[in-house]
């Protein structure tokens, strides 16, 4: 990385903006004349690392409540203009076309609910403050979705205990995806209304199901997220039960499916008992070693509704340049979806042996912070540790693209497996940045594009662009994984 130019680093105490806003600001500033590189971010540990990598020196007294403005300029004379540009960009980003500007917007969820008492609340503030906003919702008698992660367990227990008493629903914490009566919240896909109701302890697991069912022409009324910890022995499924109750009461829902990692035996029994007490049939898709994968779960749902099992679509690489040869080496999985990464890992472990990961199947298979190893690896770029103070990879692909380029350049990479998740909240054109990188690959690249026909990014267009770049594109993550494994085993034989 170039170290030329004039460097400027400043801290702004008390200034705050969310990571997505700051991403837009950084990009806007980077486009200014005389600015070689720019990064405007909150001074979290991860961001400081990135800044240091870029050659900036961040003052030691910076705390996570400080905003860092780091600029690399062609020369010092453009500094004032550049800083002016930063201020303008921050102002622009915070402007919202909300209506009459005389009335200031509410500053807390409680205040907002006084203006809009029927609102379903969506909380995505930093984890340390999410509990307080969510309690505002419950205190007002409203359901709440907590997208925020890093919420302590004891706070989750208070939230859900309170919700249980008041017959309210807490979706989360760490709930990335929900569809409520057709309205997508968080990272969600545009689905047709239909007979299926989903309860999901995982966001991208839910999204995979939505995509597969959509392709099969089966609609979904609601997909309620419950957060990754709801079926743990501590929480014991409080939100899962309430979600099931709501779906059971919905006349349009003919089949309920629950997606989660396998809970412990006791919690699972309780879950099955409760499911049996409902009028609506319930299927359990409890992913784990030896269990059916998400695609098999989708097939079970279709069967349960009397539908035929479709052939899941695969779009072969359409680029006609040098065929990608399998070679001896490792499988590199780079994911934005945690459950998709998990699913791939389970399948790969069965067929290839141990896989290292930042979300390993067992602690001894953990990856170091450099995320590399001399064995098969699968990385979840959406994991908490890789998203402190930065936007989720479905919004900001830079970190994954970086690692992708490195993986493709490495001689010991046999095949690369990727997921691209479409829908609300995700970046508007993921294939635009991915395709050029994939086009340079000398190894087979297999991509799962998780999306529905009506998603804003245009499913067909995304699939086409990636296939053009030389990737083989699947709708089924399980299918894509098996294909990638084939390439690896082919390469090993060769």
């Amino acid at each position: 990385m170039s170290r030329d130019g004039f460097l400027h680093v400043e801290l702004r105490h008390g200034a705050y903006a969310d990571s997505v806003t700051l991403l837009q600001v950084s990009r806007a500033v980077q486009d200014l004349d005389g600015v070689l590189a720019a990064q405007v971010a909150m001074a979290t540990g991860l961001n400081i690392e990135v800044l240091t990598e870029m050659g900036f020196e961040v003052p030691g007294e910076a705390t996570t409540n400080d905003l860092v403005v780091a600029l690399r300029l062609a020369d010092a004379t453009t500094l004032d203009d550049a800083l002016g540009g930063v201020d303008r960009a921050l102002l622009e980003a915070n402007k919202r076309d909300d209506g009459p500007s005389e009335v200031a917007p509410p500053r807390t969820t409680a205040s907002a609910l006084r203006r809009a008492p029927d609102g379903l609340v969506l909380v995505s503030v930093p984890g340390a403050s999410a509990f307080v906003e969510a309690m505002d919702a419950l205190d007002a008698g409203n359901d709440v979705m907590v997208f925020s992660d890093n919420v302590p367990l004891e706070q989750e227990l208070v939230l859900k205990g309170t919700a249980e008493q008041r017959h309210l629903l807490v979706m989360g914490p760490d709930c990335g995806t929900a569809v409520v009566g057709g309205l997508g919240l968080g990272f969600a896909n545009t689905v047709s209304p239909g007979p299926v109701g989903i309860v999901a302890a995982s966001g991208t697991g839910c999204q995979q199901l939505l995509a597969l069912l959509d392709h099969a022409g089966v609609g979904v009324t609601s997909a309620l997220g419950v957060g990754g910890r709801d079926l743990s022995t501590d929480v014991r499924g409080i939100s899962t039960r309430e979600a099931m109750r709501r779906l059971d009461a919905d006349a349009e829902v003919e089949l309920i499916v629950i997606v989660s990692k396998p809970p412990d035996a006791d919690v699972a029994t309780r879950l099955r008992d409760y499911a049996a007490s409902l009028g609506t049939p319930v299927q359990l898709a409890l992913l784990g070693p030896g269990q059916p994968d998400l695609t098999a779960a989708a097939e079970a749902v279709l069967a349960g509704l009397g539908h035929e099992r479709p052939v899941w679509p695969v779009t072969p690489a359409t680029s006609s340049d040098t065929r990608r040869e399998s070679r001896n080496g490792w499988l590199r999985g780079l994911f934005v979806g945690g459950t998709l990464c998990d699913e791939a890992m389970l399948i790969a472990t069965e067929q290839l042996g141990p896989v290292r990961s930042n979300i390993p199947l067992s602690p001894d298979l953990a990856l170091g912070s450099d995320l590399s190893a001399d064995t098969h690896t699968m990385v979840d770029f959406g994991d908490d540790a890789l998203t402190t103070g930065r936007a989720h990879p479905m919004i900001d692909p830079t970190l994954r693209l970086d690692h992708l380029a490195r993986a493709l350049a490495a001689d010991d990479t046999a095949a690369v497996l990727l997921d691209v998740v479409l829908g609300h909240g995700a970046e508007p054109d993921p294939s635009a940045a991915l395709a050029p990188v994939i086009a340079k690959a000398r190894q087979p690249v297999v991509v799962t594009v998780v999306g529905t026909a009506a998603d804003p990014q245009g499913l067909e267009r995304q699939v086409g662009a990636l296939a053009e770049a030389g990737a083989e594109v699947h709708l089924s993550n399980a299918g894509a994984t098996r294909r990638a494994i084939e390439h690896v085993t082919d390469g090993a034989i060769r």
Partner: protein, 467 residues
């Protein structure tokens, strides 16, 4: 589940954008990180099972109080105040830390009670500390404007909540210019105080008792309700309230049997003092807030008070504890040649009006005050709206016409202050630093921010102790 008709989004604007793109109404919370270091305590208090109902109870208790003027009597009688005992505005303080105006007020009080020949002699007395005791007005069910000095022979308004029998008190307002409450102790101050003790007090007592016994005690809360619709905000502007009080009491004053010259003098005195009603507005607010004191688990502020050196708050769920920090100098307009260097830090119990939701909180209803404190009308509207962000609710009896008759923001919530960083807005007169100078200006002032995290920490501690 049916499609939501409205989403409230707190956090990344991106998700609110997605909802809007799906043709569903979305309200965005303009979220900022809370005051540094408060996250953990905020979570503890938010998780307290007592909090929600305690706050609802505290707010309802406060809003439900009607204050009636039942008597006027010397402090020695109604407060049991003895010679050598002095009440003062704000949290507890001693002579050594007291500012100019408070010292001046104490000196005048000492002379008034005959503890010393001349006020100047009182300095040595207070420095020695022998035979003198200080106590906050609040500790004796009382509130005092500016220096707020109360001595045994001073006559006090007595307000009562007829339902519970609870009472609060406040001394009679001396008027403007060189007065004890601004720390003046010249002979004219003492002369006036003596007249108030010998003539005004007893006359008002007769009138108040007559009205009370004949047709029921004056409804002070009711007068406040009307005042707010007439351009008063009850802290810096009490003109309409004063005139309404006069209307209620003057017939009884005339028929009291007192010397007509005295009656005329008294009527002129009250009528000519636009701030006279402040001495009723303040204890009416205290009476209402006192109803919420001691509500376990409640995070509602029940008192804001300054002694000219410190600014202190008391909270419903933390008993009699004071949480204090340095009193600030107000920001506003100065009279004559005075400037910021002449101003004393914030002083007086009159912030009890803001604590109850009027004064600076109802600024939108008193545009005249807005100019006085150096603001603009849009500023005033914005302030009233902003105070809604840090209060538990509204007072439906006290409404602001220009804000579509929305009730005044009531029940300052310690947690909301810490979450938003918005500090209560107080309209205040500024006293001269030097004792006796009098009023040097008027402006806007806030409490020091740090007292709210301190109160929050204590609330969190108590919550944890309850397990």
């Amino acid at each position: 589940m049916t499609t939501p008709t409205h989403i409230v989004s707190a956090g990344a604007g991106l998700f609110a954008d997605s909802v809007a793109a799906q043709a569903v109404e979305v309200t965005r919370v303009d979220w900022h990180p809370p005051m540094p270091g408060t996250e953990a305590d905020l979570a503890t208090v938010a998780a307290d099972p007592l909090r929600r109902d305690a706050n609802a109870h505290a707010l309802a208790a406060m809003v439900g109080v009607t204050a009636h003027l039942v008597d006027v009597a010397p402090a020695s009688e109604v407060l049991g105040l003895e010679k050598g005992q002095f009440l003062h505005a704000g949290p507890p303080i001693g002579w050594d830390r007291a500012s100019g105006p408070l010292r001046g007020g104490l000196m005048a009080g000492a002379a008034l009670e005959g503890l010393v020949e001349r006020p100047e002699d009182a300095v040595a007395l207070f420095e020695s500390g022998t035979g003198v005791e200080f106590e906050p007005c609040h500790h004796r069910g009382t509130v005092g404007p500016m220096a707020g000095v109360v001595t045994p022979s001073m006559w006090m308004f007595v307000l009562e909540d007829l339902e519970t029998g609870a009472r609060t008190h406040c001394s009679l307002n001396e008027g403007l210019g060189k007065v004890l409450r601004y720390g003046a102790y010249s002979p004219e101050v003492l002369t006036r105080l003596a007249w108030m003790r010998d003539v005004l007090g007893p006359l008002l007592q007769t009138a108040v008792r007559t009205v009370r016994d004949d047709s029921g005690p004056v409804d002070v809360t009711g007068i406040l309700t009307q005042m707010l619709q007439m351009g008063d905000e009850a802290h810096n502007r009490n003109r309409a309230g004063t005139l309404m009080l006069l209307r209620d009491l003057s017939p009884a004053m005339v028929t009291s049997g007192a010397d007509p010259t005295d009656v005329a003098e008294s009527l002129r005195f009250v009528g000519g003092n636009d701030h006279f009603f402040l001495s009723l507005a303040m204890p009416a607010c205290k009476l209402a807030l006192d109803a919420a004191r001691g509500t376990e688990g409640s995070t509602m502020v029940v008192a804001m008070a300054r002694n000219g050196t410190d600014f202190g708050i008391q909270v419903a769920g933390t008993g009699d504890e004071w949480f204090t920090g340095p009193a600030q100098v107000a920001d506003g307009l100065f009279l004559g040649d005075y400037g910021p260097e002449d101003a004393n830090p914030d002083i007086g119990d009159s912030a009890i009006t803001e604590t109850a939701g009027i004064g600076g909180f109802a600024m939108a209803t008193a545009p005249a005050i807005v100019r006085l404190v150096g603001g603009s009308v849009p500023d005033a509207l914005a302030t009233s709206r902003r105070m809604h962000e840090i209060t538990l609710g509204e007072n439906p009896r006290w409404t602001i016409p220009v804000l579509e008759f929305q009730g005044v923001p009531s029940g300052i919530d310690v947690t909301r202050v810490c979450r938003t960083g918005i500090l209560p807005q107080i309209n205040t007169g500024m006293a001269g630093k030097q004792a006796g100078v009098g009023q040097v200006g008027a402006g806007l002032v806030n409490p020091p921010a740090e007292i709210f995290p301190a109160a929050l920490a204590r609330l969190a501690e108590l919550s944890r102790a309850r397990g």
